[in-house]
Point group: C2
C-alpha cells in the first residue's frame, strides 16, 4: 500500500472525526444491506435467523465509494458546488444506497424507507431481495444516471453530463477493473473536447483497490511513476491519495479534493474571464485504498481485506457457520453503530455534519433526473427544408443532406440554450450532414491549423473516432436533460450493441418510476448503409442492428426506414420530439428518388405503413393478384422499378405496392404498442395473396415480426443475405436477389395463371440479369438502363 | 511537421536510394490501382478512357504503409527475421497489394496477375472493380490476417499472433484514427501479458498522418511531449520518426527499425538467457508523415497532401476534367516509373534490392496462413471427466466445472507445444473453469504479491477486463494457427458483436480461397447466463448473442445449448476439433441436473435434437397429444418438472419431450448445413400437434428458425422476454412465463378434451404460482418444493 502524498492539514481534527463518522455509518449500512434482514442496529446479539437466506451483493468496492461520497459531500457543502457523481463501480449499490439514506434523499423518494430503525431494517431487507431493489446502482437509485454493471462507460457518461452545464462538476469514480476496458480507455481523451467556457468540469477519481473479481488490476500493479506518466500523457494532472489508515486518508482526500476544485475553478476562470485558449490540464485523483477496506481481514485462514476475495460477500456462510456469524457481528460492531445512530436509528449530528442540503445533495440533484430540466426542442416547420415533389420518382436527392438543412436550423435555434448536440465518429460530413457546420463547429480544444475546417472550441458537433465515446457522451447528455442525435455508419453501430442494451434497460425501468421525469429519446441515424458501401465492401455491410434492437423492450424501441428525403424529414421531426425511446432511423446518403411530397410524407409516416395506390394497378373491384411490399430506400427503388416492368410486360396483372416506414407496425398489436391489429394488417397485406417483400436488412426479420399474420404462409421476403464485396450498387442488389428483375421473377413464380406472356417476361428478366453480369465485369459500372432508370407512370 | 529524431546514418546512400526506389514503386502501383485500367506503365500519354469509371479506394494512408513495408523488408532481409505485419489501416489495400506484387507473392498466389506489364494492368484493373478484389486488405490479400476496415483491433490481433511464437516479430501499424477507438486504446496494455521467453515480440508503429476522414486526430495534435509520456505511461519506449523529406525519413526509419529490433532482441536475450523477470519496456515507433504523401499537393485550389482531403481519391474527376487528368499523369510520372520497371513491366533490381526471399516475404509468411501451421489439438477421451448418470435427474453438477476438468487435460497436454489458450475477461474462476490452473497459470508480467494465486509469467490463461482485448488476442492466436476458447458472461459478449461480425466475414471469404488452409474454430463458452444473475440482475441479462450470430453466414456459425454436464463435454469435444467455424456454446455454471450418461450425451449431441423417450408418456401406438420441447439447461429443467407434474396430474395425456442441443437443426436444410429436412423435423415435432417450446433466449428466435415447418402454426414458444431484476432463480422463470407451472397451463390451454381433471390441475398450477410470489417475498428464497425438486420417474 502506498503512503499518501498531497497530505496537507486542510481539515481540523473535528472535521476529520465527522467525516470518519459519516464514512463509518455508510460502511455499516453497506454491510448491513448485504447481510441483515432484522436487528439492524444490533440492539441484541446477532442470530442466524436475522441473516438473509441468500447473501448477494458486492462489498469490495463499497468502502471506497463511501469515502468518495463522504468527501464529495464536504466539497459540495463547503463550496456550494453543484456536483453529479457517476459511480463507475455501480455493482457497489450498497454504498450509494447507504449514502442516499443517510442524507435523507432515499426517504424523500421512497417514504416507506424512513430514516429510523424501522426504515433501516427495510433498507437492509429490500436489498437484493425479491420484490426489493437491485444489487447495483440502478434507475431506482436516487442521484444516479449510470448503472455501472457492465463497466466501461462511466467516464464518457460523465463528460456527456458535463457538456453545456457550465456550473456543474461531474465527479466520476472509475474502478481499476473498469479502467481495463476499451470504452473507458478511449474516453480519457474526452478532455480534448471539453470547453471550459460553456461546459462544466469532470473530475475523474481513479480508484485503485487493486483487484477485479479474481485478478490484480493492471493500473494498480504498474509502477507508480508509470501510472503518473500515463495520466499526464492523457492530458491530466494527477493528485495521488492512498493508504489504509482512515484518518490519514481522510486528510489526504480532503486536501486532494480541495486542490482539484481549486484547479478546476482556476481553469474555468482563465478560460471564461482570462481569454485562455490552450487546452486545459484538468486534475484527476488517483485513489489507492484496500479492496473491502475495514471488512474481515481473514476468513477461514485466508486473507480477504485487500484482496480479490473481498469482491462480493466476504463471509459466505454466516447462517450456517457460527464462527462466520461471530465474525460478522464483530465486523459490524467495529463501526460502533451506537455512536453513529441515535436510539431511534437516526444518524447523529456528527454523521450528518458533512451532508449538504436540498438539491445540492447527490441523491437529489436535478442533473440526475434530467427529465426535470428538459425543455422542448425547437424543431422547425419542415416545409423550408422539404424537397418539392410534383410526381413521384422524377427527381433525386440525398436524404441525409436534406436532413442536414433541417438540423442546421435546430442547431442554430439552440445556439443560446445549448441543449442540442450532434454526435458521430468522424462521419458527419461523410454522412452528408455538413450543413450543420453553418450553425455550429466541431468541438475541438487542441491546436488548430490554418487548413482545418469547422473546428471550434465551443462547437456542438462531437466527432471522435470512437462509437463508444460518442454513444457514452450522448447518453450522459440525454440523461441530464438535453437532446441529441447520433449519426453512424450502419454496420459499425454494432460496436455499441452492448451499450444500447444498457440504455434501453435503463429507460425500461425508469419509465416505471413515477419520480423519474421522461428524457429525450436516444436517436440513431444509421446511414452509409449496407447497399452503398462502394468504397469499402463486405466489412462495412451489416444491417443487423435493427434485429438487435427489436429484441429489447417494446415500450422503448422504435425502428424507421424512410424511403426518401421528405419521409426522412418527417421521421426526424417525430423522433426529435419524442421521449424515453430509442429510435433507430435507417436512411441513405446517396442520391435517391423523391417519391412523396412533404404532405404525403407526413401522412405516410403517421400511418407508418401504407398502400401506394399510384404505384400499383388496382382499380378497386377485386383483391390484387400480388402485393409488392418494401421497407428501406434501396428496396423501395427496386420494388418500384419492378412495378414499372410489370406494368409494361404484364398489363393484366393486378398488384398493390405497400411501403413500410415503421417496422414495428408489422408486429402484433399485443407485442408492440405500434403493432397493427390483424384487421388493419389484413386490409393492407391481404390474407391469402402472395406478398413479395423487399426489405433493407436480413430477410428473416420480417418473418419474425409477421409470423402470426394470416398472410404469413404467402409471405416471401428478399433482403441482404450476407453476400457482399466492393462492387457497383446494382450488383449488390443482384448478388442478394433483391433486384427488380428477380422481384418480377418472384411475382411470376408465385402468381398462377399468368399465361404465355409470363414465361416470355421471365426469360427477359433472366436475360437482363446475365447481361448485367457481363456488363459490369467489362465496364466496371452498372447497366445504363438501370443507372438511368426513372419511374415512368 | 516534426523533424525526425533518432536519425543516425545506419544506411549508405546506395541503400537509401534503393529503399526509396522500392517505396516509389509501391506508391506508383498504389495510385495506379485506384485510377488506371489500361496503360499501366504510362507508355503513352494518359487518356480519359484509360481511367476507371468509378474511382474507389483510399490513397491517404497508402504511402505510409508503403514506407513501413519497405523498411520491414530491409529488416527481414538484413537480420533473417521472421516478421508478420498487421496493417491496422487496412483500407489502404492498394499499398499492401502493391508490395505483394512487387515481392512476387501476389503472382505466386494468383498466377494470372503476372509480374509484368500485362499483370500490372490486371492488378490495376481488378482493384475495387466488379469481379475483382476488395478495396481493403482482405482474406484475398497474401500475407494478411487482418481486414482493418472496422478499425480498433490491430494491436490485439498483433499480440494474439505473437503469443507462443517466440521466433516471430509482429509489426503492427496503428493509424492515428484507429488509435482513438476503445478496443485499440485498451490493447496497448497487452504488453503486461506478453512473456518474452515463450512469446514473440510486437512492434507497434503508431502512424500519425494527422487526419481521419474529415478531422484532425487526437494523438497527432496533442503536444509531442504529452504523446511521449503517454507511450511511456503505457509501458513502451518510444522511437520518434517524422518528416516529409523522403531521404531523411528513410534514414530515420531505418535507424529506428534497427534500434527497435536491437532492443527487442536484448529484451528477449535477457529474459531467455539472463533470468530477467521484470516486465520489459518494449519499443514503439511513432511515425509522423503527411497524409497522402507524394500525392497532389493542391486540387482545385484546395490543399490536399497533408490534409484529410487526401483520405480517399484525391483527384475525383479525372475522367471528366482534363485538368485533373493532367494532374494525375504528372503525379504518376513523378515516381519515374521508367526507372522502377523494365520495359516488360518487371521491377528493377534496385527496386527489389530490399525484398527478402521465400517464406520470409511478408506476403508469403506461413504465420499469415495459420491453417498451414495448425496441428490437431489433443482432445482427451471424455470418460475420465464425465459424470456418472444411472438415472436422469438424480444428481447435480456444475457443467462448466466439469468442463474445467477436461480443459485442464487439454492445457496439460499442450504444455510443451503451447498452442492452446483460454481467454476470458477476469472470469475463468467465476465461470468455474478454475481446474485449468492446475495445468497453467494466468499470464502476468507485472509485479506479483504473496497473496496472488495462479499468476505465472508463462501462463496460458489470458484474463484482462476487456472483452475486446480477449477477442482480439484469440482471433490473432487462431489466425496464426493455434487453438483457443473464450469464456464470457453471456450478456457481455455483445461487447464484441462487431468484432465477431468481422471474424465471420473473414472466415466466410477465406473458406472460398483454396490457398488458405482451414484454421481452428473460434469457440465461445457463454455462461453466467441470463437465468442465473443472482448477484447482478437486469443489466446482466441478455441472451441475444445467439440471435446476432445466426444472422451471419450459415457456413460459419454454429450454436449449441447443452442441457447438462455430459452434453457440454461432448459439445466441447466437437467444437475444439472443428475448423473454420464460430461456435457459440451456452451452458450454465450453477448446479444443474445430470440427465444423460456420457454415451447418451454423445449420441444426443451427434443428432443435435432428440426425443427423450424416458421423459414422455408415449407408448408408440399414436401421435402424442402435445410435444414439450426445450433448449438450454434451465428450460430443460422446467420442461422436465412440467413433465413430472403432467404425469401426476393428467395420467392419460400422451406427451413427448424433445431436447434441442444444436439450434440450427431447426432451420430448413436449404438455409443451414445442419438444418433438418422436413421429413425428419416432422417426425420429431409432428406436423399438427401443439408444440410448447421452452427456450433459453428470446422466444421469437425459435419462430424465426422454424417458420417454414408444417407444425409452425401450432408452435408456442416461451423464453426470456426482457423481464428481470435481482431475484431468485425460480422467480426469474416465473417472471418470464417459462416456469413449470406455466408450461403445464400452456399444455392444458392447447390440448382439447382433457376433461375436468384439466381444470383442477390448471387451478393447482395457478395456485402454486401465487404461493411462490408470497413465499419469496417473505422468505427471500424459492419455494421448497421447487428448490428441492428432483425428477421422479
Amino acid at each position: 500500500m502506498t503512503t499518501s502524498r498531497d497530505s496537507v492539514d486542510t481539515i481540523t481534527d473535528q472535521e476529520a472525526a465527522a467525516l470518519d463518522a459519516h464514512w463509518r455509518a455508510a460502511n455499516y449500512l453497506s454491510a448491513g444491506q448485504i447481510y441483515l434482514m432484522a436487528n439492524p442496529l444490533l440492539a441484541e446479539p446477532l442470530h442466524a435467523e436475522q441473516i438473509k437466506p441468500r447473501l448477494l451483493g458486492h462489498w469490495g468496492t463499497s468502502p471506497g465509494l463511501n469515502l468518495v461520497y463522504t468527501h464529495l459531500n464536504r466539497i459540495i457543502k463547503n463550496r456550494s458546488q453543484d456536483v453529479l457523481c457517476i459511480w463507475g463501480p455501480g455493482h457497489g449499490g450498497p454504498a450509494v444506497l447507504a449514502n442516499s439514506w443517510l442524507e435523507g434523499t432515499y426517504t424523500e423518494t421512497y417514504p416507506d424507507v424512513t430514516r429510523d430503525t424501522e426504515g433501516m431494517e427495510r433498507l437492509f431487507r429490500q436489498f437484493s431481495f425479491p420484490g426489493g431493489v437491485p444489487s447495483h446502482v440502478a434507475p431506482e437509485t436516487p442521484g444516479s444516471i449510470h448503472e455501472g454493471g457492465e463497466l466501461g462507460y462511466s467516464l464518457a457518461h460523465a463528460y456527456g453530463a458535463a457538456l453545456d452545464n457550465p456550473a456543474l462538476l461531474v465527479a466520476c469514480v472509475i474502478g481499476d477493473g473498469e479502467a481495463e476496458t476499451g470504452p473507458l480507455a478511449a474516453s480519457w481523451h474526452s478532455n480534448k473536447f471539453l470547453d471550459p467556457v460553456h461546459d462544466g468540469a469532470v473530475l475523474p477519481i481513479l480508484h485503485l483497490n487493486g483487484y477485479k473479481i479474481a485478478n490484480p488490476t493492471v493500473l494498480a500493479r504498474i509502477p507508480e511513476d508509470e501510472l503518473d506518466q500515463l495520466m499526464r500523457g492523457l492530458g491530466y494532472e494527477p493528485l495521488h491519495v492512498g493508504g489504509d489508515d482512515p484518518v490519514t486518508v481522510h486528510r489526504a482526500m480532503a486536501a486532494a479534493m480541495d486542490t482539484a476544485v481549486d484547479k478546476i475553478r482556476a481553469v474555468q476562470h482563465a478560460a471564461r474571464h482570462g481569454g485562455e485558449h490552450r487546452r486545459a490540464r484538468w486534475p484527476v485523483i488517483v485513489l489507492r485504498t484496500p479492496k473491502g477496506w475495514t471488512g474481515p481481514v481473514e476468513v477461514d485462514g485466508l486473507p480477504v481485506e485487500g484482496t480479490w476475495r473481498a469482491h462480493q460477500v466476504p463471509l459466505p456462510a454466516v447462517r450456517e457457520n457460527p464462527a462466520h456469524l461471530a465474525q460478522l457481528e464483530e465486523w459490524l460492531r467495529s463501526y460502533r453503530p451506537e455512536d453513529l445512530f441515535d436510539p431511534t436509528g437516526r444518524p447523529t449530528e456528527q454523521v450528518l455534519a458533512c451532508v449538504p442540503e436540498g438539491e445540492r445533495r447527490l441523491g437529489a440533484t436535478p442533473y440526475a433526473n434530467g427529465g426535470r430540466m428538459l425543455r422542448t426542442l425547437p424543431v422547425p416547420a419542415l416545409e423550408p427544408y422539404a424537397v418539392p415533389v410534383d410526381k413521384p420518382g422524377r427527381t433525386q436527392h440525398e436524404p441525409t443532406r436534406v436532413l442536414g438543412g433541417m438540423l442546421e436550423r435546430v442547431m442554430a435555434d439552440t445556439a443560446q440554450r445549448r441543449d442540442f448536440r450532434l454526435f458521430g465518429p468522424d462521419e458527419t460530413a461523410s454522412n452528408r450532414l455538413q450543413a450543420v457546420y453553418g450553425a455550429s463547429g466541431k468541438a475541438w480544444q487542441e491546436q488548430m491549423l490554418p487548413t482545418d475546417e469547422h473546428l471550434a472550441r465551443d462547437g456542438r458537433v462531437m466527432e471522435i473516432l470512437s462509437e463508444h465515446t460518442c454513444q457514452g457522451w450522448l447518453e450522459g447528455y440525454l440523461l441530464t436533460g438535453r437532446h441529441g442525435l447520433f449519426s453512424c455508419y450502419e454496420a459499425f453501430v454494432h460496436i455499441v450493441d452492448s451499450m444500447v442494451n444498457q440504455h434501453v434497460k435503463w429507460l425500461h425501468t425508469s419509465r416505471q418510476l413515477p419520480w423519474r421525469a421522461p428524457i429525450a429519446s436516444l436517436n440513431y441515424l444509421l446511414t452509409s448503409h449496407v447497399w452503398r458501401q462502394d468504397h469499402n465492401g463486405f466489412s462495412h455491410q451489416d444491417p443487423g442492428f435493427v434485429d438487435h434492437i427489436l429484441n429489447k423492450s417494446p415500450e422503448v424501441v422504435r425502428v424507421y426506414l424512410p424511403p426518401d428525403a421528405n419521409t426522412l424529414l418527417s421521421i426526424a421531426d417525430h423522433v426529435l420530439r419524442s421521449r424515453d425511446y430509442v429510435n433507430v432511423v435507417v436512411a441513405g446518403k446517396q442520391p435517391c428518388f423523391d417519391w412523396l411530397s412533404m404532405d404525403q410524407a407526413r401522412a405516410h409516416c403517421a400511418r407508418g405503413v401504407g398502400i401506394w395506390e399510384w404505384a400499383g394497378t388496382e382499380n378497386g373491384d377485386r383483391e390484387p393478384d400480388v402485393v409488392l411490399a418494401c421497407a428501406g430506400d434501396v428496396p423501395t427503388q427496386e420494388v418500384l422499378a419492378a412495378a414499372d416492368l410489370l406494368r409494361r410486360h404484364l398489363p393484366n396483372l393486378v398488384f398493390r405496392v405497400v411501403n413500410v416506414v415503421d417496422l414495428t407496425r408489422l408486429m402484433p398489436a399485443t407485442e408492440h404498442p405500434h403493432g397493427m391489429p390483424d384487421v388493419e394488417f389484413d386490409a393492407v397485406f391481404t390474407t391469402s395473396r402472395p406478398v413479395i417483400f423487399a426489405y433493407h436488412g436480413y430477410p428473416w426479420l420480417i418473418h419474425r415480426l409477421a409470423y402470426r399474420r394470416a398472410v404469413h404462409p404467402h409471405l416471401h421476403v428478399r433482403g441482404y443475405k450476407e453476400s457482399g464485396t466492393t462492387t457497383t450498387p446494382f450488383d449488390m442488389v443482384v448478388r442478394n436477389d433483391l433486384d427488380r428483375y428477380r422481384l418480377v421473377m418472384d411475382v411470376i413464380d408465385r402468381v398462377p395463371r399468368l399465361g404465355a406472356r409470363a414465361a416470355t417476361t421471365r426469360e427477359a428478366m433472366a436475360d437482363a440479369r446475365s447481361r448485367h453480369h457481363e456488363w459490369i465485369r467489362e465496364h466496371g459500372d452498372d447497366l445504363p438502363e438501370v443507372a438511368n432508370w426513372t419511374w415512368s407512370s
